[in-house]
């Protein structure tokens, strides 16, 4: 990435100027690397600034360019906010948004999808993997079904691409979001796969960058980083998946053994390698996360308090929509935690977490009036 901040600072859109040549070449290479990772053609990859932007470009862009197909749009109940929060603007543009249920493991309820994929449905957005509960959706099955109904299919691949093998042709998706920083690339670069021939209207309008689909000067260094992260992810995929699956198993089994009143979330096997998520009764998620962090262990919490601690007011303090969708009671969503292990994590770190977690849980439970009641106290 580094030379593209200084040495090759030229604008890739400066076609006739020598300084533009090197950055342009670098972007072509990055595009090739990303396309290889997902088995796409190079001209099917649009660079954007974030997965959120890719999801906005896909949903609004496909909806606006394909109105002739209908005005109904389906979202799964566990889509990321960058999909969910588009509902209002889609409605104001005259579209109707409906939601497809998931089962308690977070897998798409195919019956519900079939029921809701009514005539007039133009687009469905169903993610590949949920980062809160780890579940990987049966995207191929969903893709084939939607194709049979003539419904466009966008899949947010931010949680999956670079983590598990993803092949856009096999999955039968029309568009798919790729996020660099989810697989060790830099922040500020992402991509949208758009199947050749599928009409899309640009959302960010201006010049002719990215063949007109995304105007604005490209973040060349970050795009170079996305390309390189894609190359590495592709090359190291088999080894990473194997290693992270084993590490995740070790963490899962250890936690299962050491902590009572604990419930895992997501599917036990159809899940991201190295992803372990659960909720613990009588323990509030943010407190748990803070204590883990004080012990040098980074995790994420579905707790409303933790995820919205920086909110300007208290209106955002709601339990996670993902956990609610998989049937976790709201009071319990506050105790949810997700660990996602990466290639840098070691067995020793997993074991350290396993030796630290029970003490923290015990400490917090001892403070909890709810635990007191559950143990027969008053």
């Amino acid at each position: 990435m580094r030379p593209y901040f200084s040495e090759f600072f030229g604008n890739p859109s400066s076609i006739l100027i020598e300084e533009g040549a090197e950055p342009r070449k670098a972007m072509d290479e990055a595009r090739l690397k990303v396309s290889r990772l997902i088995n796409a053609e190079t001209d099917e990859v649009i660079f954007t600034g974030s997965a959120t932007e890719s999801n906005n470009l896909a949903i609004k862009g496909l909806a606006l360019a394909n109105r002739n197909r209908g005005n109904r749009i389906l979202f799964s109940d566990i889509e990321h906010y960058s999909i969910m929060h588009q509902a209002d603007s889609l409605k104001s543009l005259g579209f109707e948004v409906d939601y497809v249920r998931v089962d308690p493991y977070g897998l798409i309820d195919m019956e519900d999808l079939e029921k809701k994929a009514t005539p007039g449905t133009l687009l469905a957005s169903i993610m590949q993997a949920n980062l809160e509960i780890g579940t990987i959706e049966p995207v191929r099955e969903i893709g084939l079904f939607l194709k049979s109904r003539g419904i466009l299919f966008h899949s947010d691949g931010a949680g999956a691409v670079g983590q598990v093998p993803v092949d856009v042709k096999a999955l039968s998706v029309d568009s798919m979001t790729v996020s660099a920083h989810q697989f060790y690339g830099p922040k500020g670069a992402a991509a949208l796969y758009l199947k050749k021939g599928v009409p899309l209207r640009p959302v960010v309008q201006g010049g002719y960058q990215e063949t007109g689909y995304r105007a604005g000067t490209e973040n060349v260094p970050a795009i170079v980083g996305l390309g390189e992260a894609s190359r590495l992810a592709g090359e190291e995929m088999t080894g990473r998946v194997e290693r992270l699956t084993a590490l995740g198993r070790r963490l899962w089994e250890g936690i299962e053994q050491k902590i009572d009143y604990l419930h895992f979330t997501g599917h036990p096997t159809l899940r991201l390698p190295g992803h372990v998520s659960f909720w613990i009764e009588f323990v509030e998620g943010e407190s748990l996360l803070l204590w883990l962090n004080l012990n040098g262990i980074a995790s994420a919490s579905g707790s409303a308090c933790a995820s919205n601690v920086l909110a300007a007011d208290e209106t955002g303090l709601k339990a996670s929509h993902v956990l609610t969708a998989v049937g976790v009671p709201p009071e319990i969503c506050h105790g949810s935690i997700a660990f996602s292990l990466g290639p840098e994590n070691t067995e020793a770190e997993v074991d350290f977490t396993l030796s630290t977690l029970p003490g923290i849980v015990e400490k917090l439970r001892e403070m909890s009036p709810l635990y007191l009641k559950a143990r027969g106290g008053t």
Binding site: F282, V283, E284, E286, S287, L290, N293, L294, S303, A304, C305, A306, N308, V309, L310, A311, A312, D313, E314, G316, L317, A319, P330, E331, H334, E366, M367, S368, P369, L370, Y371, L372
Partner: protein
């Protein structure tokens, strides 16, 4: 040390909560909050001759909720009932070096727990004659 949006004081009270536990045969107990909102606070008081001689708490909640409970017990110990009633959520938040905007409700909860415990004490007094 401060962490994220939390002040040094909040983290101190979170990591080393003061007066955590229960009081046997308390003069008054107040429990407020709702697990669905993520916070439940229970405050125990021991009152003698109109003075709060001991206070303890049990709290299920986030860092700010635990710190607010802990700070409240510190602020009320040794105070008369009237002095304790004058302690507002703002005073609790201030004593903690401030709370993030989204966490102000934790100090409100602490104030409510205190009022509920004092209410319980008064009821017990009246019932006892």
């Amino acid at each position: 040390m401060a962490q994220g949006p939390y002040s040094e004081k909040v983290m101190d009270h979170f990591m080393h909560p003061r007066n955590m536990g229960e009081i046997e045969e308390p003069s008054g107990v107040g429990e407020v909050g709702n697990p669905a909102c993520g916070d439940v606070m229970r405050l125990y008081l021991k009152i003698e001759n109109g003075t709060i001689i001991d206070a303890k708490f049990k709290t299920f909640g986030c860092g700010a909720a635990i710190a607010s409970s802990s700070m409240t017990t510190e602020l009320i110990k040794g105070k008369s009932i009237d002095e304790a009633l004058a302690i507002s959520n703002v005073a609790v938040a201030e004593a903690l070096g401030g709370l993030p905007p989204a966490k102000q409700h934790c100090s409100v909860l602490a104030e409510e727990a205190l009022r509920a415990a004092l209410e319980d004490y008064k009821k017990k007094q009246q019932a006892g004659g």
